[in-house]
Symmetry: C2
């Protein structure tokens, strides 16, 4: 299980098995989506399987999540999402009504995100050989700018922004699983962020890197990027937005909110001079939360992620070893 949690073990599995096997110039970039060129046009391809339980949770469901996840992965490559595929692995005995609700939710999410689901597949496996339903989506997007949105484009002095408060998706799921009740229900942050990304690009912001804060949360993402860029990322705990109810739920379950997956949040790396303009574009294209700056890129001998905590002390923010939250997406 630990190999799927987005932490160090998954990182090793991908690094030691998949990358060497499928080694080619395109997959070496290790990004959420791969970029390729056809007839002089840059396109992006990405895929994700969604195995989250429960199928329906406050703020979303497996169907909308499967659309948001792939739309967002394309956006993280700076691509405008266009076409999606949808493949269902259904466990024998899944009520037709459940499938119908998920399919309807996917269609609504696709429509809202401005993408079309154009091809699909259905497989049915024996009872006990699946878990209700798994959904895979793959997506194709078009890249209409000349930026190289990659960890390798990050420079010392770049600002690190996030588009909103962290951890709502993971804690919405965990609260249901653990039967936690709060005064208000924590709703997942699952949402498409391609609109905000397209707005940044259309405003001509010099975006260096984008990454959505999914499996492994902020901590994994920052560590992966620090390693890929060969730079140190310094973030300030006091600047990282986490809602009080999410923080409380994390405390009860002994979880670190910086490790918890989001599905509608992403990190943005831009040069210092672009910060104000980027934040203003993000704020104009974000609902229900407030984009902000959380840190700065620096150059140090050994690339790492440094966290300045509440009392001002600095510590290394290391990747989680195994799974902290399995099957959250």
């Amino acid at each position: 299980m630990a190999h799927g949690g987005g932490g160090k073990l998954m990182h090793q599995l991908i690094g030691k098995m998949f990358l060497p096997a499928f080694r080619n110039s395109l997959s070496e970039a290790q990004h959420d989506a791969s970029v390729f060129e056809i007839g002089g046009q840059r396109l992006a391809l990405t895929t994700d399987s969604f195995v989250v339980r429960p199928l329906f949770f406050p703020g979303g469901d497996l169907g909308s999540l499967a659309v948001h996840g792939t739309v967002n992965d394309l956006a993280m490559a700076g691509a405008r999402p266009l076409y999606l595929s949808a493949a269902f692995i259904i466990e024998e005995g899944l009520p037709m009504d459940t499938l119908w609700r998920l399919v309807s939710s996917m269609q609504q999410a696709a429509s809202k995100a401005g993408v079309q689901i154009i091809t699909g597949d259905t497989k049915v496996v024996d009872k006990g050989k699946g878990d209700g339903v798994f959904i895979n989506t793959a997506g194709v997007g078009i890249i209409n700018h000349s930026l190289k949105i990659l960890p390798q484009s990050i420079r010392p002095g770049d600002a690190i922004l996030v588009n909103g408060d962290l951890g709502r998706h993971g804690m919405a799921i965990m609260a249901v699983r653990e039967g936690l009740e709060f005064e208000s229900t924590i709703e997942s942050d699952s949402a498409p962020v391609a609109g905000a990304v397209m707005a940044l690009l259309e405003a001509g912001i010099n975006v260096h890197c984008l990454r959505d804060l999914t499996r492994g949360g902020l901590t994994s993402v920052l560590n992966e990027i620090a390693e890929a860029a060969g730079l140190t990322l310094q973030v300030d705990e006091r600047l990282i937005p986490v809602r009080e109810d999410v923080r409380a739920a994390c405390e009860i379950l002994g979880l670190d909110p910086f490790h918890v997956a989001c599905e509608g949040r992403f990190a943005i790396f831009v040069p210092e001079v672009e910060v104000e303009r980027a934040l203003s574009v993000l704020r104009a294209n974000t609902e229900g939360t407030t984009p902000c700056r959380i840190g700065t890129v620096t150059d140090q001998a050994v690339p790492k992620v440094l966290l300045k905590n509440m009392i001002g002390a600095q510590r290394i923010l290391d990747m989680a070893i195994g799974e902290q939250l399995p099957r959250i997406c």
Copy 2:
């Protein structure tokens, strides 16, 4: 289970749920791959999940099958397969060695088929919530011709060809599952057919429709095409190639070889005048079996598939209702 077998129930599930929900001009064509246009260039997108058991079988494995399936689906739209994604849903406890063998096999199959696996995803589910491993592949291909390769392009008088003998893949799997032993092992026909399709197109053959004979076998494919084209397809049992060992295995298990899935076989619809040239191109690009003609398209009041049997009598070849062979691909 029956809804996944490629027969009438699956046909209804797709027709009644997925098509209405995802209705758009692109998905209405109901083909193995969907065709779209970006910057004046026609491209194809397809997806397939592979859940076959056992993971390793004579002539192939889940990994190579996952590559062949998607490569072939792109080829059936007349697209040259270029880029694939690969997504793994791994059940907790799968031996790393098993995963490694599958990944290596995928890479070999991709290399042989001339495609690159450029992006991927890994999810791990709890023991008992999966079945070893499921693999999803999606693929993008490029269309470099102006033909409309669709059931709707078929005309009365067209010849129906197949690129080789039927049923080997399904019976290779069933023989392992049922513990059948024959003098020689039946090996799966799993193979990429994109090379043969590209050769047909490069030779300028006026191809009207292509369809691979996977789930539901020849019978389902012919019925789907007859319905979509609004025409009757007449095939002659004496012309349909089925090897003796496959026929014997089918008889033992009470199966109809025309319902059994292949993974390296496809049907080709071409005008009568193109038959000889098409067969000669196919033969030059096919290994280990012999392409041939099996029937003709005719125009009748009610579209259907007619089979002339061994003694010359004609009967309707109807789609199987449920699953004849579950989890064969």
